[in-house]
Amino acid sequence: MKNSIFLCCLLMSSIATLSAQRTIDYKAHTIPQELKEGATSVIRYEKQTFELLDDSRAKIDFERVVTVLDVDSDAYELYIYHNPDIKVQHLQVTLYDAMGKQIRRAKKDDVNDILAVGGVSFYVDSRYKHVDIRSAQVPYTLHIEYKLTVKDVGLFTSMPDWTPQEYEQSVELAEYEIIYPSDNKIFIESNQLPEPEESTDEGVTTLSYALENSPAPDPEWATPAYMSNLPYLMAGFDRFEVDGYKGSMRDWNSFGAFLYKLSKDRQQLPADLAAEVAEAVSGLETDMEKIDALYRFMQERTRYVSVQLGIGGWQPFDATYVHENRYGECKALSNYMRSILAEVGIESWPVAIFGFEKPYYDVHPNYAVNAFNHQMLYVPAYDMFLECTSSNDPTGYVPESSCFRQALLITPEGGRLHPMPNPLPSDNTAQQHIKLKILSDGTAQLELDGHYTGSRQDMLRGIDAAMGEEDQLEYLHQRDYLPALKNVEFDLNIDSDKPEAQLQYACELDRYARRMGSRLFLPINRHFAYDFVPPADSERNLPIKLRRARMLIDTVTMELPGDMEVESIGEALTEISHEAGNYRSTIEQEENTLVWTRVLTLNPIELPAEAYEDLRNFYIEIGKADSRQIVLKEKRTR
């Protein structure tokens, strides 16, 4: 007994001593050199405590000391998200100079409370506390402290995820503590973090994480996910409750079941809509025909407006809401489509997905987490996805930004991961026939006949829906797709049933080739050359993941001026091969005509970090081959 009291006292005194010894260092010069490398800011100390009080309430204590090293760093800016369920308390921000001397403390008028509108959000009830105090001279240090009380602990804003550092930010010491009732269970996935310390006391479990001396990671091009090179911790509880809806993050099935519950009984159609739906499918025999008709029906009558009020940020507005307003965000529109399909007996399920080209986090089967920002609809009978925020995509077309990843199907039986389509190069093609009639002063008459499919037609489809012809031309010209604006012929045709587009264009270009003395320098594919080169990265760390499939075929037929002949034409055949794709171009001359044909295939691919330089060289070689020029000179005899 005596011993255990003694031990307890020792422990207590050591904790107290540790706590007392932890003095926060505001001086910038004490940052170790290795933590300054590539860093625009350094987390000197961070402590977050997330305490789950019951299935729906939590407290968060946050403290961070950050030194800003670069004037362009935005680490000084503090945004604290809050809404009717999340209250901010005890917000305090203090500014210190490079020597650690206090400059000033944020006052009430330094804190702005801003409605979280903007971007796609139109109606919202969420806000930000924004504090922006900084020093004119770097380095300087900010000490930030605040507390949050959270009602309706949920999936989207207040589960205890933790990302202790950002790109170009290093960490001296960051600590994170999760405290939760021991009768609940926590599920964790972490990256680049040491194992936590775990303790249980009086029915409460505490997990303590610490990250020390973590250098600043570099953002890299074409990585598997945004967070791949960051330390992070994902966490979810076996039990949670949001606005009376109980849920679990035990596995994908449970998470999906919770999301399904949120959308349950919101598919009732008003009588007039039901009648319109019946009319829309009248005479159609197959379910596929009905899906197509109803998708068009939905596209024609709705538009995207983001309404994020109350639980509406998580739960779809019901079909009647969308019917009455003819607008909604992705969940509401998907639910509307689901409802009208259900009306004709076709089952469909919502799909949660991350909808940008590079996912924030690469979801996988072994860990359930809400890493999604978008919703689509899935028709299981046809293994078909419907993008319900689009007003002009063909039925079943999945934009490239949603391909090459896993998505969560939200089914009546719960959730399950499902792969999104992985398009082939032949799904995303640009096939262009370019005719050039070259005059000896360098002027050229150009004709383009292009046929585009898949992701190569997305932009053309978009501008066709959005703009008149003049604006389309200007849009394409400004983005270097088309070389001239005036005195041109232009005809864009979009296939409404297939992801295909056709573009015809003709113009005269007064400086296509460059005349110099007796010679003419003739670019082989001046305006349509493939010239993308990945950024230089001499210290690549992460594996490469390219989510793009392309087949780009250009045939350029050049009619040469009669008074000139070829001086140099270069190789007749150019072939470049790599796991990431193939390039092949040929050039043939027949009398006064040159025909250059290039087929470039780009594959979606995963490569190790060491392959980066080689991959970049592949693109460089393609760029060189596509930008080659032919030299003509005046004929010796006329």
Binding site: S135, M467, L485, R514, M516, A536, E567
Partner: protein, 654 residues
């Protein structure tokens, strides 16, 4: 009898105005409006403003007896294409002290159905401290629908000086744009409208009483209408775009009303100057007590300085190092130099007032220089309007030379103003005089000296000595700081654009860099500038482009080109040819210049043994080019663009 006649006349004209407005009365959509399938003359337009009317009234409130400003907007827009649907998302911003009311909104569907918005569809939120938004969106938006809304903003907290500005032109064509203003007779405003091609301009007088049997006041009424206004087209390198749009901008000239006379500022520039001399600026700039804490820190630093310039530069550096600009532009300070010194932040006028204060305390002649910012309108020298100024610079006499000073962060060197302040003209106010002066920033200059050795494969080893001066120096410094990879950064990025396979051998940065001096650094690279084919080699002597053709991409222009500063770019190259090759053809030397010599380009190339010498020198000395000069400007730029792609032709020696 006369009175009765006048009344009849007044009533008659009021009825006439009313009759015109009846045509567009809220909720009365004509069959013609419903039948439009495109905007006449603008088939590409995705939407068409059928009617837009801002009615501004400044009248005595019958309830409070104070002046009340009311802005009543009535807008009707036809939506032709899906791309216009975001016009159905309506956001009305207003400030604390203003009330928004009388909101009505409806959508008229192509089938004739009308859907009115309910009160619950209209959200009002405080966006941030003191700023509010009213938001609503229309249901059932579809192609061919017409949206219509009206609202009224009311306030008694407003400035008499300036009435709300109205633009008759927008990004879509407008069939009818109308502005009316009702104000007390005796309040005289001048009209700063940039054009007067109004289809209707009517004036009238009306009488209104305050309360039951209360005093009646006479108000003047003006109505301006423009019909069939084309959409505004964006053109790059246009400054102060709003000035080219037809608009009404009313500025108070004087008040002579009910025995009350007020002459705010409109009489003369000298009177406005006198008024400004009476503001805090003069006190803060001159009173030792207003900035003594700042001066206590400054004085030890300037103790050893040998010239006024040196002292001014030390003060400039100290202010830049200590003060954060709060991103607010102001032309007069609200806080003293001491106050911002303690808080370590201030607005643009406060920070420059501290500079002015330091100069005066050091016995250096210095004055405020008021400017309107780029994008905020061209200077209006005809009218003494303080509203046109948003920022204050400092003009100092340093060893007999006047120099502009702007404490704008470490990226802007001493003697330079921030780019936004380069709006061509500024108003100088001294203790005795006031006058407009030109702001003519020194040319930004960039010189590249390239020594190139070419091998038989076309690979060049090149040493580039670069020197960037003025604004180019600032840009180069910033690019250098932002560079994350060895192949990032000034000049190397431009080389990599031409030759992605460029290999960087060495970058030599200056040992000590003074941000107030030109920035110089050296690069050593390997790049494949020659293409060897058969017996020939084609070589580009420039490793990078000096200019881009972006500025001259438009076929024609409506508005002037307006650049903040002029520039000069030089590329001087000495290239040693590989053994075994001889010159087959060199590009021709050439020289061209605009008529006035403000744009010029010289290109010379010569051979001496195995060495080719090349010099490309491009100057744009002027910052403003009228639309009529665009053709000349474009042609010169295009020729420079061609020159920078010049090729040498080499041939194997047989």
């Amino acid at each position: 009898m006369k009175k009765a006649l006048l009344l009849t006349l007044l009533m008659g004209s009021a009825l006439f105005c009313q009759a015109q407005y009846e045509k567009y009365k809220y909720g009365k959509i004509s069959d013609e409006e419903m039948s439009f399938t495109e905007a006449p003359g603008h088939p590409d337009a995705d939407a068409y403003t059928l009617f837009d009317r801002l009615a501004v009234s400044m009248m005595i409130s019958p309830t409070t007896g104070s002046f009340e400003l009311r802005e009543t907007l009535h807008r009707r827009v036809k939506l032709f294409k899906e791309s216009s649907f975001d016009r159905a998302d309506v956001v009305i911003g207003y400030y604390e002290g203003m009330n928004i009311g009388s909101i009505k909104a409806a959508i008229y569907l192509p089938d004739g159905e009308e859907i009115k918005l309910k009160n619950s569809d209209i959200k009002r939120d405080e966006i941030e401290d003191g700023f509010y938004e009213c938001r609503f969106t229309f249901p059932q938006v579809t192609e061919g629908a017409i949206i219509e809304y009206t609202y009224e903003l009311r306030t008694e907290e407003f400035s008499l000086d300036r009435l709300p500005t109205y633009y008759f032109q927008e990004s879509i064509p407008a069939r009818w744009s109308e502005y009316t203003i009702t104000k007390p007779d005796g309040f005289t405003y001048i009209d700063l409208a940039t054009m007067h091609g109004f289809d209707i301009h009517e004036t009238d007088m009306i009488s209104r009483g305050v309360g039951n049997g209360g005093q009646a006041f006479t108000y003047s009424y003006d109505r301006y209408v423009m019909k069939d206004v084309p959409p505004m087209e964006y053109e790059p390198y246009t400054n102060n775009t709003d000035d080219y749009m037809p608009r009404i901008r009313k500025q108070l000239q004087y008040i002579n009303w009910q025995g009350f006379a007020y002459d705010p500022e409109m009489s003369t520039w000298e009177e406005l100057a006198e008024d400004i001399r009476g503001t805090n600026l003069w006190r803060y700039a001159s009173g030792r007590a207003q900035g003594n804490r700042f001066m206590d820190d400054l004085e030890p630093l300037i103790a050893g300085a040998s010239s006024d310039t040196e002292k001014a530069m030390i003060a400039h550096r100290l202010l830049n190092n200590r003060l954060v600009w709060d991103r607010e532009y102001r032309f007069l300070p609200s806080r003293t130099p001491n106050q911002i010194w303690d808080k370590r932040e201030g607005n643009s006028a406060e920070i420059n007032t501290a500079m002015l204060h330091a100069l005066k305390q050091m016995g250096i002649e210095a004055h405020p220089l008021f400017v309107g910012l780029r994008g905020q309108g061209n200077p209006m020298e005809y009218y003494p309007l303080r509203g046109q100024f948003q920022h204050m610079l400092v003009l100092a006499n340093l060893e007999g030379a006047y120099q502009i000073i702007d404490v704008a962060g470490l990226a802007i060197p001493f003697g330079f103003a921030r780019i936004r302040a380069l709006n061509h003209r500024a108003w100088l106010v001294t203790d005795e005089t006031a006058q407009w002066v030109s702001i003519e920033p020194p040319l930004a200059e960039e010189t590249i000296l390239a020594e190139v050795t070419l091998d038989t494969e076309g690979m060049a080893e090149a040493t580039l000595k670069t020197r960037s001066k003025g604004y180019f120096g600032s840009n180069t410094r910033e690019d250098m700081v932002d560079a994350e990879d060895p192949l990032d950064g000034p000049f190397i990025t431009q080389i990599a654009e031409r030759y992605p396979e460029v290999e960087l051998i060495e970058k030599v940065l200056p040992e000590a860099d003074d941000p107030n001096k030109p920035f110089s650094y050296e690069l050593e690279v390997k790049a494949p500038i020659g293409q060897a084919m058969d017996d020939m080699m084609y070589v580009s002597p420039l490793l990078m482009n000096l200019v881009t053709a972006e500025i001259v991409e438009d076929e024609e222009r409506t508005y002037p080109i307006d650049m903040p500063y002029g520039f000069r770019k030089r590329y001087i190259c000495s290239m040693t040819l590989p053994e075994g090759y001889e010159v087959a053809e060199l590009p021709e030397s050439s020289s061209m210049r605009s008529e006035d010599g403000s744009v010029s380009c010289k290109f010379s190339i010569s051979q001496s043994g195995p060495t080719i010498s090349m010099n490309l020198d491009f100057k744009v000395m002027r910052t403003l080019f009228a639309a009529e000069e665009y053709e000349m400007f474009r042609e010169l730029f295009r020729q420079v663009n061609d020159l920078q792609e010049s090729m040498l032709v080499l041939r194997k020696v047989k």
